[in-house]
Symmetry: none
Subunit: 194 residues, 4 copies
DNA sequence: AAGTAACCGAGACGGTACGTCGTGTCTTCAC
DNA sequence: GTGAAGACACGACGTACCGTCTCGGTTACTT
């Protein structure tokens, strides 16, 4: 009547596929990774992949989400900038990790496929923005962040420069960039730091 | 001994190819655009394309560069924020223009192809950053921008949020976003606007 | 470990390909027939052709062999010349049949491709020579053919003139030619017929 | 107004093209020889070839004709079989000469192109048949050949077996074959040689 | 315990596009 | 205005993957 039965799904195959996909993305550019290649590497029939995922990007979406999920917690030491720096340092590391190069491929895929674009935004980006927002709200409550701003806009202001360098390839994404961003963003472009 | 002779190149074919490529990108997602499709639309043999460009992305690089080139001049009215706003308003328009959807495809392609990545950075991005930098330097000289910052970092801070929304698809890129960015960036996250 | 699995082979596709190839050869000269054309006509992917045959000629080899196989039996009425005439009349018909024009193309292909040459000789020609040889041996036993000659040489003497006209295009291959050949070959060039 | 002016034709180019064509046919199978290859080897523009010849086969037709022309004269010692043997020995040599492998290609091309077929028959084959016929007529006059036969049919009977082996690749074309053919053809298949 | 439904690995299938090669035409420049 | 050179529009090549399909085989529920 309807789709496949998830209860009968082979967990072994699922893991092999996610693993193979990430592995291949580590070894070669995203668009050289093929469904056939993933199936071969995973020791799996192509049908098994298509049964559970609609596209290569969908596989990587799941793979990346599950990998990144537990590594980007937000600390709360009471010092906003310190907490941001510690979490964003982790982000910088991830963005430079070849094991996460698939992430760039995923973002690339999103530019041509609205489904992927929506999934990336909803599943990957927004939940993580939300984590950050939660920390920012607390900071607003204790006066470490202007109260008259939308925290989501702040998230964009802070993280966007990382993605900009990542995707435009003008300069590498480094922890030093964080210093610059924090200085500019927190102190503003007009007034010198007191 | 070497490659084809550029003096013999058909300008007609060149224009037809660039035009066809942009046209097709307007009609469909980037990765549905094929070399064959471009050749067909341009009324050109595939060989003629491959003779002069190594890839679809290379065609679009040239096409976009020549299209965008004259539309993003930097005004200098003496008021930095006003000038930025007027130029960035133009940028927002371009980023939303379906005729420039190829641009997103190009950035996507850059994630898999280092040559394209380098070309995009050097040919598209950096020269335009430089234009902005020039305006910022003048602003520093008249005290409208902190003198202790690298203007390139400022460019990143201001433009990155546009690209972030463009590529992550969390929210649309709008002129309202400019207000937000200017407020946050110029006034800073900590202190309320005086 | 190696090539495709013949048990999984689609008989439908096989027949469609052989049929399409013969059909196209009937409609146009051999070298205008393309793999793409065959695939299109057969409603088949090119890969399916290349999976099972190395070349256009190989397809036609199989097609022709299976078509011609049952039409060229050798009768044995006791009268050698009568039996030869009846079989060779059939051969003349085939050589003039547009449906077998592919045969000429195959022979042509053999001049450039040693693999095809070998296949044509071993699969098409020699088995048919052998059939004729068998009949000739019987004729030798009953004194209707000189006993001191190699029957294969006789086969050549009798059939070669047909192929000569077929391939050199000096004159058409006709049943009248058979009369001439039989007269010359059986009676010899020197002595007048009894 | 009309075609090119033959008086201004470059003899140097003509020779270079004919030579290059034969040379390339000696080095590789006929159908790997291309117009581009000939032009390159001859140091000639493609247009120069197309101006004077309609096809690759037409070039080889001219090349082969001019090469073979002076080597196949017919002796007349008074002994028909001896004269035939000496001329046909020369033919056997030519058919085995790699320098004449283009000849096989030409015959192959004739199977797909009626123009070539006609040219081969009229320019290459028939004039040479005629030379042989002239010798056979003399033989008929002196009773060395049956008077009641068409000499052209005799030519076919004698030469066809050579072409048969050449083109069908069942056995090599050798001088020994000549002995067999002469025995069978002159003495006939029925009666033992007296 | 046997029957059966569905997932599994495998890979052949009809297709689309790839990037390359050769065709025959055309244009440009040198002689 | 011929000849060398080669860019052009075109079509076919043989290959790589696509996403669908069919085939045993195994596995896990049903009866």
């Amino acid at each position: 009547m309807s789709g496949p039965n998830p209860e009968r799904r082979s967990e072994r195959a699922r893991r092999a596929i996610l693993g193979a996909a990430l592995e291949l993305c580590r070894e070669q550019p995203y668009d050289k990774v093929t469904m056939e290649g993933i199936a071969k590497r995973a020791g799996v029939g192509k049908q098994t992949i298509y049964r559970w995922w609609p596209s290569k990007a969908a596989i990587l979406l799941e793979a990346i989400d599950s990998r990144a999920t537990d590594r980007l917690d937000f600390p709360d030491t009471g010092e906003l900038q310190a907490d941001l720096r510690s979490q964003m340092t982790e982000v910088v590391t991830l963005l430079n990790d070849p094991g996460f190069s698939a992430y760039k491929g995923l973002i690339a895929a999103a530019q041509s496929d609205p489904d992927i674009a929506r999934s990336v935004a909803e599943i990957i980006i927004k939940p993580r923005e939300l984590h950050c927002v939660e920390r920012l709200v607390k900071a607003q409550e204790v006066g470490q962040l202007r109260a008259d701003v939308d925290p989501v806009d702040v998230v964009e202001l802070l993280y966007a420069p990382l993605y900009y360098r990542l995707l435009m390839h003008t300069r590498p994404v480094t922890v030093e960039q964080l210093d610059t961003v924090f200085d500019l963003a927190f102190n503003g472009l007009t007034k010198s730091p007191g």
